[in-house]
Amino acid sequence: MAVVSYRDAVRGALRDEMLRDQRVILMGESITGYGGSYAVTKGLIDEFGPKRVMETPIAEAGIVGFAVGAAMGGLLPVAELMTVNFALLALDQIVNSAAKFHYMFGGQWSVPLVVRTVSGFGQLGPTHSQTFEGWFASVPGLKVVMPATPADARGLLLASIRDPDPVIFIEHSLLYSTKGEVAAGNGEATEEIPIGSAKVVRPGSDVTLVGYSRMLLQALRAAEVLERDDGVSCEVIDLRTLRPVDYPTLVDSVRRTHQLVLCGEDWRTGGFGSDLLSEMQDRCFDDLDGPIQRVAMRDIPMAYSRLLEKALIPTSDQIVEAVRRLN
């Protein structure tokens, strides 16, 4: 075990998989000399060269389409889309190509593709501060992964690259410098964290908080506050995978706590939490002692100015308030 940053955990997983399997290639904008806009791929060009670390034109749809084709031709491409905002230009290739071929062509082939992209904000204004995981998660044929910790970033990325289906792997710009213990990379299969498994990261008995990516950290913070100030015991679950959702783990928790708060960073309307809420209500209505609560982004484009931005971003305080509404 070693303590590494989320960024280094992602890079380490890429590197180890590239060492292990010649078929793995990276492609993306400014991922070679520049090292990637979040410095995730820094140095990999020196080690693996331009055939395996491909500097691409600024062409998101083209990049993903190309990666789909490379996957069909026998490679294991990992395409980086600089941020999820730019992934919108590639939606067609993600939804109509990557997600469809296995089904549409009657199971004749699959598309072992990973699209790595990044959510987050930080005074970047309306076009550069969005998060669209709910959109991707609504598409059958895709798998959607959003790790919160360095260990999960590594384990889930290994699983994603080895998976025969297209995986949308969404990192968070505000997590890159966070640190955590990660298995020392030796490319062992056992390091994989299976796609589709949530994780109870803090056991508790009074209320279940479900988060993913950066909102997991907010949920953990809220759980501490609630324990200290209110004597409320929160069970915190890291969803980790948004498609498929590990409902058994969620349901099991709610059967014990009877209260549920869903924490997300995407818009309240049509956000991923809407879907989770509806499904959890279906599965657990009789176990619930109160209405499922949601913490989400307000339905407003993200503003640039610091205070305006702050007024929009979901926080641990909002999670605390949501729990207090229930009790």
Binding site: M104, G122, A151, P164, L174
Partner: protein, 375 residues
């Protein structure tokens, strides 16, 4: 010609079909000519029957006929190798049949049956047969252009000598994805032939309405790849051009763009009332019909007699009747299997839930400052 390996058994029983005919261009044999003629007739008859079945509501959704354009697929696919990778757009029956897919399985796909090439999941616009390296009809205009480039990269990377043949229409050249795909193919010197079937229309839009230039090759020239036009109503012209293009790609010289000038005799799809073009124009193009045109060539060059051509037509017609009967009798896909093939590796959360759970202390790092962004 490559010499046979020494340990190969003697070919005593093999019948030589090659009758060298100094009269035939491009090193073609009479057998190859007959094969190409038969394939064009096969596509024509297949689609006539498909149209009939559509009128009887046996085929649903959209049906785009290739009638009039047969020379492009047939000339191109006979010029390339059988194991070259093939991608095309939704007007795809011609690609499938010229690649050798079983017309029965193609028809069954149109009928939405279990024996269809894609088990009724894809339909007319999405035929594919991976075992023949036919990677499909693509119904999102232009989407398969970068996909083809990616496959070409995979060949180059793995040092395999197959090339990619990627077919699309004139309309696709107005889409950004066309330019992204060509840009990457040229940038990385990829072994792919872009075959633009310029049939003068993108659905109901005339060329003049959809493009500032009437020659699609001009758009490719900007990406520094060789770009040529050929008569898409002449199977031999297509054959010759693609042969040249394939040689270029296979020898590592990068992508090649071929614009086949062609015309669809029928509407864009079965639903098209064809208000945007006049009948006289269609009639003019019909005089260029690639099938009788090549039939005449075959007779002139003593490849076969008119009687033999008629016989090919009859045989194909019989084959098509069988294909329709096969499709009619093929079982419907089982609705209980509608969720098959969503994933190659389906995920069972019940199994994953057994995952070990450890403490959360590592996660309680201080909240990161909201400042990290480098874009």
């Amino acid at each position: 010609m490559a010499t046979a390996p020494k340990n190969r058994p003697a070919r005593a029983k093999r019948v030589r079909t090659r009758i060298t005919d100094p009269d035939l261009p491009l090193g073609l044999t009479p057998a190859q000519c007959r094969h190409m003629y038969r394939q064009m007739v096969l596509i024509r008859r297949f689609e006539e029957h498909a149209a009939e079945a559509y009128a009887q509501a046996k085929v649903g959704g959209f049906l785009h006929l290739y009638i009039g354009e047969e020379a492009v697929a047939v000339g191109a696919l006979n010029a390339g190798r059988d194991d070259d990778h093939l991608l095309g757009h939704y007007r795809d029956h011609g690609y499938a049949l010229a690649r050798g897919c079983d017309p029965k399985a193609c028809m069954a796909e149109l009928f939405g049956r279990e024996d269809g090439l894609c088990h009724g999941r894809g339909g007319s616009m999405h035929l594919a047969e991976a075992s023949r390296n036919f990677w499909g009809g693509y119904a999102i205009v232009g989407s398969h252009i970068p996909i083809g480039a990616g496959m070409a990269y995979a060949m180059q990377y793995q040092q395999r000598d197959q090339i990619v043949l990627d077919f699309f229409g004139d309309g696709a050249t107005g889409n950004g994805i066309f330019h992204e795909g060509l840009n990457m193919a040229a940038l990385w010197n990829l072994p792919i032939i872009f075959i633009c079937e310029n049939n003068l229309y993108g659905m109901g839009a005339t060329l003049a309405e959809e493009s500032p230039v009437s020659e699609m090759k001009i758009k490719a020239e900007g990406y520094t790849m060789p770009a040529v036009q050929c008569d898409g109503m002449d199977v031999l012209a297509v054959y010759e051009t693609i042969q040249r293009a394939a040689e270029h790609c296979r020898s590592g010289k990068g992508p090649f763009f071929v614009e086949a000038l062609t015309y669809r005799f029928r509407g864009h799809s079965m639903a098209d009332p064809e208000l945007y073009r006049d009948k006289a124009e269609v009639q003019r193009w019909r005089t260029q019909d690639p099938i009788p045109r090549f039939g005449d060539f075959c007779v002139e060059h003593r490849v076969c007699s008119p009687k033999e051509l008629a016989q090919i037509n009859e045989e194909v017609e019989q084959q098509m009747l069988e294909a329709v009967a096969f499709a009619d009798q093929s079982p419907w896909p089982d609705p209980s299997e509608v969720d098959r093939w969503i994933y190659a590796k389906p995920i069972d959360p019940e199994v994953n839930a057994l995952l070990e759970q450890d403490g959360a202390s590592a996660l309680l790092a201080p909240e990161p400052e909201v400042k990290e962004a480098g874009v």
